[in-house]
Each structure stands twice: as C-alpha cells, then as structure tokens.
Symmetry: C2
Subunit: 178 residues, 2 copies
C-alpha cells in the first residue's frame, strides 16, 4: 500500500493530466510518484479478410516518429468502450465494422498510468465515409498478417496494443504455426 | 510530424520526468502534448518449469491496488537490457536465471511515453539469495499457466507486459490449444 500525502504539481492537456504526488511508501518512508490520470481507451483489430487487417500510420510525439498501429482512441466522457471503438474506427479509417468483439482489457503502463485499454476485433467492414481525421492519421493501410509478422521480426512494429491484440488472438508470435 | 515549440512545465522523480510541451501539429495548428520521458525497461518471464512461472505481487500507485505481474524494472544509466533483467530478477524474487532470451521489444504507451520494454524469458532458475526488495514487492508466487489462464479469463491479470510476453510465446490467449 502506498498512500498519497499530497499532490505537489499537475500538468494537464484537454484530455488527461499528470500529477506528481508525495506518498507514504509501504516501508514507512516518504517517496514521490508520478501518476498519469488517463481516460480509458479502446483499440480495434479491423479484419479486411481472414489474413489482412487495417492499420493507421500516424506521428507519435512521445516517440518522435511515425508508427504503424491498429486504430484506437480515448473514450469520451460517458462513452462506452464499444461505442468509442466504433467511432474511432470510422474517424481514423472511414470504415465501420458490422461485428465487433471484446478480446481483452489491460493496463499498458502500470508503473505510472491508470489507463485501461479495451482491445476489440472487428469484422464485416464496410465503407462508411470518405475523408479521415487528418489531425492525426497520415495514411490507412491494409496489411497482411504475413507482412506484419515480417515487420515484427525486423522490429518495425513497436506498439504494445497492436502486438498484444494480435498475439492474444494467436496470429503473431512464437505460438503461430506458419 | 509534430514539432516542439517549447516546454511549458516539467515534473520529475529520481528516475523519470514528464513534460508538457506546446507543439506545432501537422495541420499547422498549435496543440499541447504530454510526454513521459522514461528510461528503457526490461521484464522477464521466469520459468520454474515448463508450466509454471514466477510472478511478483506489488502495489501499483497509479492503479491504486496490488497487481500480480512478471518481474521488471528500469535500466540503470549505462546498463544493458539483459544486465537489467538479471538484476531485477534477483532483486525481486531472489532467483537468478541460467539462461535468458529476448522475446520482443515494444512501446507500451505510445500515446504519451517514450518507454521501451525489453521482454525476456528465463530458464534454469536457481536460488541466488534470501530476502527481497521490500520497498516494492509484497510476495513472490509460483503460478501455473493453467491458473494464469483462469485468472486472465476473470480479468485478474491486467498488466500489459505480462499479457504480451505470455501471448507472444503462445502460452495464453485464443491461439492456445488446451
């Protein structure tokens, strides 16, 4: 158990905040903890076919580079994970999914963030609109699982939610029979 | 591409910091980004046998509760991932691994952190010392993969690195033949 003594300082953007807290550690000493107070998020593996998924290329400021990853976003206030993931899929790719299914909910950065990500798979995609969220997305790409495995082997896919979702479905990793 | 205009404020602990930056977005607008500037980290799945691993129970301040997860920690300055993971395994469990292997390197929280986690597996464990790092670890537990799968199904294992490591090895998830 670690107990907050006080919050020393806080940083905020419009969608989440970070606090620096003084805490009482379990050994009785005082320490400092940084806590990212982040809304829940949802991500989706959108299957174009049995062997192909949609991915988005976008610039990630924290990493300082573009990444290729599955569509995802933060839940709006009052929004449910399934509503969020359907909205984000349309905003980021222009496609809607006829069927979605929750794979897993997990905490990506347990050492400093309270974020939970709800990971979905999506099937029966159909074009819902033209034009993308160009504040964030550079391009939408259809990627085969074979190419994805090759990219992962080369270290080109670093995004945790993408790797976890596909691994948990048994589509990438050392358990795959290829 | 998003370009930093200036850092507005920074929070720091002894091991990492967070900045709030004003940035130029790719559509030409200005925006704010929070960036967790975090050292690389390493985690290990320590196999006690083919069907059992060591896990540690510890309080996670950001989540406000205890979690059961694989041993892990931040790289010290100048330390290599394999050195870090051997050190953390001993500190957190009292065991050393005769053989370790890198499974995967990934970015857990791509939306706000530059952290990279190097995920290892460890075999041929032997007792290296008594006594644990009691600032962090509440207990060390030997957990069978069968029990772990059951706990995951009940939503009791939320830690991303634990879930990704075991999934990528094909030991949990929907690809497992049980």
């Amino acid at each position: 158990m670690e107990k907050k003594i006080r919050t020393v300082a806080t940083l905020s953007t419009h969608s989440f905040s970070v606090s620096l807290d003084e805490v009482l550690l379990k050994n009785g000493m005082e320490g400092k903890r940084i806590k990212v107070d982040h809304p829940e998020a949802a991500a989706i593996i959108p299957f174009v076919s049995k062997d192909e998924i949609l991915m988005v290329r976008q610039f990630r400021y924290a990493l300082g580079k573009e990444t290729l990853e599955i569509p995802a976003g933060k839940l709006d206030p009052g929004e449910k994970p399934d509503e969020c993931v359907r909205r984000e899929l349309i905003e980021e790719t222009g496609y809607e999914a006829g069927h979605i299914r929750l794979i897993l909910t997990y905490a990506p950065a347990i050492g400093y963030a309270n974020e939970l990500i709800h990971l979905f798979s999506g099937h029966h995609l159909r074009r819902a609109r033209e034009g993308l969220d160009d504040r964030e997305i550079s391009s939408v790409e259809t990627v085969s699982l074979r190419r994805l495995r090759d990219m992962i082997e080369k270290g080109l896919i670093e995004d945790g939610k993408t790797l976890l979702g596909l691994s948990f479905l048994g589509l990438i990793g050392e358990g795959v029979k290829t």
